[in-house]
């Protein structure tokens, strides 16, 4: 399927392309998108993805509520976002067209499955007339492809039921777009083989045939005049793989536990969009990983804390509603000073909110959502691949400081993918875990003078038998104490211990001039949109810089100095303004927010527009 066979049609070069696959939630758009992404990654492009799907597993077929989409941005240069708008839209039915067509720019490429534009489907999609014939699509390059018919034709001698054949339609779309952008379909064929060949060889054969049919259709049918090519990106040398945020998070946790030489114990209750971490880790038991699917969120974190008491690396994974339930146990971990990582893969809220959509609105929950003074360190990854580093760091901090640590990812990072430069295990930082064994001079709350952390003395160690609990403890012995001054001393030392984590924070990376008009300060998944916007503005000569923080509690020690050197500080967040509150409260800086609460990541243009309007302000 390689280049020697595609020479018939001219190939046009592009710097970057944004493609969106859209269809019914049963149409397999996520799968098509994922494999197009994998082919693209192997072609050496930089890339960024945005899966966007409904919470319902199968909403009624053909309706607007059931539309599922997958957007991929790939490029020959560094890119940071899945793209503001698609250059190419693949719409598998009228509903998918209706939901997505507003994002396609003038002259954009639109590929539709012609057979799906039946009267009934058109009505379900709430069109008043057939968009393929009423002229409403005239401003686009429309390719009406008989995806349904060609799929059925390719399989007509297989003896499969029509319904079974229809399930391969996504592979036609994938094959066609693979040709259009000159992707090698070999990796997808390999995947089909490994996934289906053993148990359902007829499905493997159907998917293989339809994938090739789609590819060959692009190449031979007189429909597409040109194919496109995006050259490999000039990215840093090394070995790469494509990775989602949740997969990177899982690897980060396993790597840190391995470095610590301790078993990893995950206590978790399934919740969107965090469940994939449970699935990933359940498959890594060979690395000393214990996964416990608990009866509820509370038991998930409770079991993780119990395992930590026994000397394992205890972690729990969840989303906002789960964090609400875990609060009391997190507080217990604060009080008994045991290491624990709480991975909150944030989603839209409040309450059940938007389970499959992204938001960054749990920051203040992580910061303050427990009774009394209960400081917990908070770390946030910036990109899907960065989830690896930050998950690793969360465990390092938790064990070094004997504290629960929040890891704040979100739905966009969790499901989004990008190339990950695979690190060498030997280059990863040390995670030092030493259990106390010497009974001489042992007190459960005798603190390390530098980190203020207490010794980790695990059951099974002779002579160190002791009791811990959620009641206030004596500063030294850990015995129950209600003494007034002891309580104040304990509250203050717990706070000082967490504040002392500043010594772990590397200098804040700044992209842009040391001083200037606007500093765009971000955290978490807004990294890509902010970085792209700031680069675009800098290219116009604007004095704009981007700082992105991974440590939110405590905040980086160099941050106040940085903030003071710009006329304006802008904090874009996918919430009503949470980091901006912390910044204003902490530093008395007149930072202003840019807030979006639509379940969708920022578009680059939204940030560019806001910064530009600030530049004009005196």
């Amino acid at each position: 399927m390689q280049s020697e066979t595609v020479a018939q049609k001219p190939i046009e070069e592009r710097d970057h392309v944004v493609i969106r696959f859209a269809g019914d939630s049963g149409d397999g758009m996520q799968l098509a998108g994922m494999h197009f992404t994998n082919e693209t990654a192997l072609a050496g492009n930089d890339l960024s993805t945005l899966p966007d799907f409904p919470a319902e597993i199968r909403a009624p077929t053909g309706t607007l509520a059931g539309v599922s989409g997958f957007q991929l941005h790939f490029s020959s240069a560094d890119i940071f976002t899945p793209g503001d708008q698609p250059d190419v839209l693949v719409a598998m039915n009228p509903a998918a067209l209706k939901v997505n067509i507003g994002d396609l720019p003038m002259n954009g490429i639109l590929i539709v499955d012609k057979e799906q534009f039946t009267e009934q489907n058109i009505k379900k999609a709430e069109f008043t007339s057939n968009p393929l014939t009423d002229g409403s699509l005239d401003r686009f390059q429309v390719f009406e492809v008989s995806i349904t018919k060609l799929t059925l034709n390719a399989l007509n001698d297989t003896g499969l039921q029509t319904r079974a054949m229809m399930r391969s339609r996504n592979f036609f779309a994938l094959g066609l777009t693979s040709w259009l952008f000159q992707r090698d379909i070999e990796p997808t064929l390999r995947w089909i083989e490994s996934k289906f060949a053993k148990r359902t060889p007829e499905v493997a054969e159907a998917n293989r045939r339809v994938l090739k049919a789609g590819y060959n259709y692009g190449e031979t049918a007189e429909v597409f005049r040109t194919a496109y090519k995006v050259k490999p990106a000039a990215i840093a040398p090394g070995r790469y793989r494509n990775i989602t945020g949740n997969a990177a998070t899982s690897l980060g946790f396993v790597a840190a536990a391995q470095k610590a030489g301790r078993p990893l114990f995950l206590g978790s209750y399934p919740i969107t969009p965090a469940s994939d971490i449970l699935h990933e880790l359940a498959a890594m038991k060979g690395y000393g990983v214990y996964t416990f699917q608990a009866e509820d969120e509370i038991a998930g974190v409770g079991a993780a804390l119990g395992a930590a008491f026994g000397g394992a690396i205890g972690i729990t994974t969840t989303s906002g509603p789960g964090v609400c339930l875990k609060g009391e146990t997190i507080n217990l971990a604060v009080s008994v000073e045991l290491p624990l990582v709480i991975a909150d893969i944030q989603r839209g809220g409040p309450s059940t909110g938007l389970p499959t959509k992204t938001e960054q609105a749990d920051l203040l929950l992580a910061m303050y959502g427990r009774n009394s003074d209960s400081p917990v360190p908070i770390l946030a990854p910036a990109t899907p691949a960065d989830c690896f580093n930050v998950a690793f760091e969360a465990i390092r901090i938790a064990t070094r400081y004997m504290t629960p640590v929040f890891f704040l990812s979100d739905g966009y990072l969790a499901n989004g993918a990008e190339p990950w430069r695979v690190p060498a295990a030997a280059d990863l930082p040390e995670v030092k875990v030493e259990f106390r064994t010497d009974p001489v001079g042992y007190y459960p709350f005798l603190r390390d003078p530098e980190t203020l952390s207490r010794p980790w003395a695990i059951p099974g160690t002779p002579g160190l038998e002791h009791r811990i609990g959620g009641i206030e403890k004596d500063y030294l012995t850990g015995n129950v104490s209600y003494a007034p001054m002891n309580h104040e001393q304990m509250v203050r030392v717990r706070s000082r211990k967490i504040a002392g984590i500043v010594r772990e924070i590397p200098p804040t990376e700044l992209n842009g001039p040391d001083e200037g008009d606007v500093l765009v300060l971000g955290w978490g998944s807004t990294y890509g949109a902010i970085e792209s916007a700031v680069r675009a503005l800098q290219a116009e000569g604007k004095k704009v810089a981007h700082a992105h923080i991974r440590y939110i509690n405590p905040l980086p020690p160099d941050l106040p100095g940085i903030l003071s050197r710009y006329r304006h500080v802008l904090v874009p967040e996918l919430n009503m303004g949470q980091l901006v509150r912390l910044i204003r409260a902490e530093y008395l800086v007149d930072a202003i927010g840019l807030n979006k609460i639509q379940g969708q990541p920022f578009k680059v243009s939204e940030i560019v527009r806001k910064v530009s309007s600030l530049m004009e302000k005196k």
Binding site: P237, R239, A303, G306
Partner: protein, 340 residues
């Protein structure tokens, strides 16, 4: 905190007494339970450092502070979850859970249920005094209907849970009952529990002399207890009464009390079988005044414990993998190289 770490063989009761003052109300039934547990521990031959007591919140949950072992006084109702995490990752430890009727059956009912059905190798002691003691006297999920307390001045309208029935419903593999003041019986039940592989659930009827004095007086009073207690023994007929002259037999699908004589002999009585789930269930519903309260082991069956199964899965996966290699893990799936 411990200062001494002598050889396990030489341990005695005092070695399990912590240096903390016991702060239960004078006359509380918990004192007796603590004494029996501390007495039993040296007998088990388990090194003190390998024993962990985990509790939730409530009067009973102060228990770990008084045991000179490892201990974790956690949060309300969650002890079974915390203990599950510990035991699953550290099967070498002996883990006891101490809970009460409020902690275990109200706020923590869910966790108790799931620990029982998973058969985690935990010894769970539920002190049942049918009242909230630490919050000063509200009715609990085991309080009798109509009970007048501070929060139910007109009488409780809740129907109570029966802990043994709940445990049997969750298919717990070891279910037993004893009484705070029956020291010998309590010790024998605790010993059986400690020997069981899997979740051992023991309901201990316990008096709260401050907020629910005489909670089980109709079962424990010296002059009537022979008629009010049915001591269960595997393979023995269900006999009770001062003169062993009463028994339990089947009448259709129900149990009935019969007096021996007049044509009724021991051969007519039910014989206790710890492996018969239907019998255990029927027995769990018996209560005075119509019936004696059964004490002893209702059910004891073998089933592989959760923690052992979890450990086996991990060990099998480790053996299959060989030496863990992070680099191999990182490079799984499709990778590509970018040349310098």
């Amino acid at each position: 905190m411990s200062e001494n770490a002598e050889a396990t063989t030489a341990l005695n009761r005092k070695d399990f007494v912590s240096d903390q003052d016991v702060r239960w109300c004078p006359g509380c039934g918990d004192y007796s339970i603590l004494a029996q547990v501390q007495r039993l521990m040296p007998e088990l031959g388990i090194p003190r450092e390998n024993i962990v007591f985990i509790s939730g919140i409530g009067c009973s949950s102060r228990f770990p502070y008084y045991m000179n072992t490892y201990g974790f006084h956690s949060i309300h109702g969650r002890a079974p979850a915390i203990a599950t995490g510990l035991k699953a990752s550290r099967p070498d430890l002996t883990v006891w859970v101490v809970t009460g009727d409020g902690d275990g059956l109200s706020i923590g009912g869910n966790h108790l249920l799931h620990a029982l059905r998973r058969n985690v190798d935990l010894k769970i002691l539920l002190f049942n005094n049918r009242i909230y003691g630490l919050t000063k006297g509200q009715y609990s999920p085991t309080s009798e209907r109509g009970k007048v307390t501070k929060s139910t001045p007109l009488g409780s309208i809740d129907y109570p849970l029966h802990p043994i029935t709940v445990a049997l419903g969750a298919e717990a593999t070891f279910v037993a009952r004893s009484i705070d003041v029956e020291a010998k019986h309590l010790t024998s039940v605790l010993r059986r529990a400690s020997e069981h592989k899997g979740t051992a659930f023991v309901e201990i009827l316990q008096n709260c002399n401050i907020f629910n004095d005489g909670a089980f007086a109709n079962i424990t009073d010296k002059d009537q207890k022979a008629d009010a207690q049915l001591v269960l023994e595997h393979g023995k007929p269900l006999l009770f009464g001062k003169n062993h002259d009463k028994g339990i037999r089947m009448a259709g699908h129900k149990l009935e009390v019969v007096e021996l004589g007049n044509g009724v002999s021991e051969a007519d009585l039910l014989v206790h079988d710890e492996q018969d789930p239907a019998l255990a269930f029927l027995l769990s519903t018996l209560m005075p005044p119509t019936f004696p309260a059964p004490v002893g082991v209702f059910r004891a069956v073998d089933r592989p414990p959760y923690d052992a199964a979890m450990g086996e899965q991990v060990e099998r996966a480790k053996a299959k993998l060989g030496t863990p290699d992070l680099d191999a893990l990182f490079n799984q799936g499709d990778t590509w190289d970018v040349a310098p």
